[in-house]
Amino acid sequence: MSGTMSEFFGDWHALLVLLLAGVIPNQIWRMLGLWLGGGLDEGSDLLMWVKAVATAILAGVIAQILVQPPGALASVPGFLRYGALVVGFAAFMLTRRSIFAGVLCGEIFMLTGRWFLG
């Protein structure tokens, strides 16, 4: 690890943002589950809808990373990013849903493609 202590911590403003936009929005739901959880039916319509929306938001995050790639991923052409997802998913299904095989094949596809492009 290189750098000074101030480099390690960054500015306090970013840590305040982490607390307000990261920590509190997550802990609210956990603590609500702890306080109200006793009386809720796990199979109720409300919880079914909440789970579906939560899953779709997660899917949106996956799409966002591929469509608007951050950092070094932006240097990879679009067809390789989307292709990696498709190839990985095919491997995932062919191996009776092995997460490991899916991730590995997606990565190999992207790296091979980059290597060919030079």
């Binding site: 970013a14 802990q27 609210i28 959880g37 939560a54 995050v61 966002q64 997460i99 980059r114």
Partner: protein, 265 residues
């Protein structure tokens, strides 16, 4: 190690037999010492493929935090205090793409709703009539997709009065893996070539997609995942700052409606 024995070792780690739970029998005196259940829980992280998925995800998060110019301490505190991979990704990527604190907070809050049903589902597994609510605060904090899935698998093999200690151990073990992976990802992104940096950032969408697909047993889950992927590119054309929210609520609501319609009156 010869190549063959290496392949056998890998195969043994990823085949279903590996998923046997290596705990003492329920009535064994080995469960009695107070710290023993905690230690068994912490050790249980070695017997789950999800530890590897968690590791890979957090390497990606560490790398993302680096490439979007957050500090290492910021990334580590996120892992320790937020402890929800998707929320951390949304937080980092929305802030980095110029969203305001309020916009980020709304997107993260909505993504975190799924923690609520998880906590509701997990707690009854370790609650006894005499259990106080404050004894479960740490369990609620550790609850995220990995712990939620593993509780269903592990807890039937853990004596009921030892389950809170066991889950504390399991949670600490998982957080430790997450923290180490965050640091590794951050440092790798700082020091690797662009090719390897992009490979690490690609880990997150791949591992999220496949671990969610694996947990999607009902039609509503599968539809929510598929529609959510398809809707985001459309919603992003709106450029509202809440694109993830718009596509997520739309896709999730359609998935839920189809599920209800198929179920019939």
């Amino acid at each position: 190690m010869t190549q063959l024995s290496f392949i056998r070792l890998i195969a043994a780690r990823f085949t279903p037999s590996h998923f046997a739970v290596p705990f003492p029998p329920l009535d064994s005196p080995q469960w009695h010492p107070p710290l023993r259940a905690f230690a068994i829980g912490m050790g249980a992280v070695r017997s789950t493929i999800l530890s590897l998925v968690l590791f890979v995800t957090y390497v990606g998060i560490g790398a993302l935090a680096h490439d979007t110019h957050f500090s290492l301490a910021w990334a580590m505190m996120g892992t320790l205090l937020v402890w929800a991979g998707p929320a951390q990704i949304i937080l980092i990527s929305t802030l980095a793409s110029g969203a305001s604190i309020v916009q980020s907070a709304i997107a993260v809050t909505v993504s975190a709703i799924r923690l609520f049903p998880m906590v509701v589902a997990v707690l009854p597994m370790m609650r006894a009539p005499e259990t106080k609510r404050r004894q479960l605060v740490l369990v609620a904090h550790f609850t995220a997709v990995t712990l939620w899935v593993e509780c269903y698998r592990f807890l039937p093999h853990v004596p009921r009065d030892k389950r809170i200690a066991f889950v504390h151990g399991l949670g600490c073990g998982l957080v430790l893996i997450g923290l180490v992976a965050t640091v590794i990802g951050y440092e790798l992104a700082a020091n690797l070539t662009q090719t390897f940096g992009s490979a690490i950032l690609l880990l997150t969408p791949l591992s999220f997609l496949f671990s969610t697909a694996r947990n999607s047993k009902e039609l509503a889950d599968v539809l929510a995942l598929g529609l959510g992927l398809a809707f985001y590119p459309l919603a992003s054309l709106l450029n509202s700052g809440l694109d993830i929210l718009v596509s997520g609520v739309a896709a999730g609501t359609i998935a839920f409606a189809v599920h209800k319609w198929r179920e019939g009156p």
